[in-house]
């Protein structure tokens, strides 16, 4: 084995999201290159606050199990660990448990033994109130400082883990690490950092690889293999027909990131300003020049809650007279419906709101349309009423029914019927969920706010919850 092979850590990143689908031949390729671990993210805030507020996954159980069956079987044969970050979309404790139970089921079907480390990072409000009183909570723009009430208002609060609990779990013999909320990069960074790869190179490689094939020229052809050395890293697609180019790799730093060069992580900042990207082989891009600046350890907080309830209705309109006067139609309809609800419900109406969105006109933006815009051929009008209970929102929608479906554009005409596609016409949409926190908490280290639990699945399928195995000093 050459010096380079000894000092390079290779991690298979099969996709940007557990449950998105993985191919056996892609994993086999990474294993043939001598991969030391498989690491994949399973979460994101991008689908909105509903998942964290409820503590549930966006992905189906079937999709997660399908991927785990392949990853666990192949990793078991190769004798390397699988690390999953931000289980169940939001990384709440309940999402870790949900993923753990799927993994147990998969291990039993495969007939393999599995030592699972579950990392929990959900935070009770009381812990954060104490941190707040100690001056260890800071807001991130554009939010302001937290209050005790803000923490109390959240249904779930999670702290984004760094790589330390993952490293600890792998060192203690975990074959599968299932993490709660974690930075996308930390779960990919753990094994390279554990094996002594360059710190800046590791974090930079992890940022590039976080969405799997997004950093390749064909993002539908599988994930990537990170090769992380001490002063450089290489990014290689898992598919032999796919490529990582300097542009595809460097462009990924821009993705869903408000700064194209700086990335704040637990315990430091990655600075890629001076990074140089070079095509070293037709499929492989090498990166040098990344910088890591250590900082006091912080974890970002995310919190969400369920708020008011909405009910929706939809109509289509092709009447040219309405289409020629859409803004006027919108304003008059809105006024009519608000007055109707206020008159019908009186004090019970409370703090309700009606929103009408004219798809085909300005439904996406809600902004004024330029004066010379020709009428569309067809519009869909989405009615959304927001009220404090589902029952009240449903009743408000029903009270609007005759007006929403039949309000004429002129008063001297017979009542029109706009085209509504469903009966009953009103659809209870459920709650409005809200993100509440954009703060960081200072901690002693990467472990202070994290709890680890161990589960052993034997090759005969029995499950045992363990006390911390192989207890050792960190």
């Amino acid at each position: 084995m050459s010096e380079l092979e000894r000092t390079v850590t290779k991690v298979i990143v099969p996709s940007g999201m557990l449950g998105a689908g993985v191919k056996r031949e892609h994993i086999a390729y990474g294993l043939a290159q001598g991969a030391h671990a498989i690491a994949v993210d399973a979460g994101s805030t991008d689908s909105g606050p509903s998942y964290l507020a409820r503590g549930v996954s966006k992905m189906n159980r079937e999709s997660i199990k399908q991927d785990l069956l392949i990853l666990l079987q192949m990793a078991n044969e190769a004798g390397i660990p699988v690390l999953v970050g931000t289980c169940g979309t939001c990384g709440a404790d309940s999402s870790v448990d949900w993923t753990r139970d799927i993994a147990i089921e998969a291990a039993r079907e495969l007939g393999i033994g599995l030592r699972i480390a579950c990392l929990y990072s959900e935070q009770p409000a009381a812990v954060l109130k104490r941190k707040l009183a100690q001056g260890k909570i800071r807001p991130l723009a554009p939010l302001e400082q937290a209050t005790d009430e803000l923490f109390d208002a959240c249904d779930h609060i999670v702290a984004l883990m760094g790589p330390e609990p993952y490293i600890d779990a792998v060192k203690r013999g975990a074959n599968l690490v299932l993490g709660g909320r974690t930075t996308d990069t930390a779960v990919l960074s753990a094994v390279p950092l554990m094996r002594g790869a360059g710190v800046a190179q590791t974090w930079h490689a992890a940022k590039i690889a976080e969405c799997g094939g997004q950093c390749t020229t064909n993002l539908r052809r599988g994930g990537v293999l990170m090769h992380v050395g001490t002063d450089q890293f290489d990014m290689e697609p898992l598919d032999p027909g796919n490529r990582c180019t300097p542009e595809s790799v460097s462009a990924h730093l821009l993705y869903e990131n408000s700064d194209p060069f700086l990335l704040v992580e637990p315990g430091g900042v990655l600075d890629a300003t001076e990074a140089v990207y070079t095509q070293v082989e037709p499929r492989i891009t090498r990166v040098v020049g990344s910088i890591w600046r250590p900082m006091p350890y912080t974890m970002k907080l995310e919190g969400a809650r369920g708020g008011d309830y909405q009910t929706i209705m939809l109509i289509g309109i092709e009447d040219p007279e309405v289409l020629a006067n859409l803004d006027e139609f919108h304003d008059r309809m809105h006024k009519t419906l608000v007055e109707r609800i206020a008159a019908t419900f009186g004090d019970e109406a409370g703090d309700f709101e009606v929103s009408l969105r004219l798809y085909g006109w300005n439904g996406t933006s809600g902004r004024p349309v330029p004066a010379d815009t020709p009428p569309p051929r067809d519009v869909g009008v989405l009615f959304v009423v927001t009220a404090r209970t589902q029952d009240l929102a449903d009743r408000m929608a029903r009270s609007c029914n005759p007006y929403f479906f039949h309000m004429p554009i002129r008063f001297d005409m017979e009542l029109p019927s706009y085209a509504f596609p469903f009966t009953p016409a009103e659809i209870p949409r459920g709650r409005v969920y809200e993100f509440m926190l954009n703060h960081v908490v200072e901690t002693e280290d990467g472990f202070e706010l994290v709890r680890t639990e161990w589960v052993d699945v034997s090759s005969t399928g029995t499950v045992e919850h363990l006390e911390t195995p192989n207890a050792q000093d960190r």
Binding site: G48, P142, A251, L254, E256, S258, T364, V432
Partner: protein, 102 residues
Amino acid sequence: MPKIAEVCRHVRSKNAGPFWITVDFFFADDDSFARYRDAPELGPDLFARLFGTDPGSVKRVPVDALRMIKISYARPHPQGWRHERDMHGGQQFARLLSVELA
């Protein structure tokens, strides 16, 4: 006066976390990039006017190697608020395309 759509080969927008939207302007050629890299028309006022953001929140970083500029702004309301129309922020770029540059 050219429009943004005429000097950029690609413009895209996306959430950068629940409280920010980031817009990437990939310019079509070196001349356009040199000319508009620091153009004041692409300043905080434009984003305040089109998106209702606090102009003080607007961050702008050119990436010379990729011939692009990234401009990020605070969402006036967090992702998923009760009147959300664009959960990913993926359509916010569209209203920029017809903005005229000097």
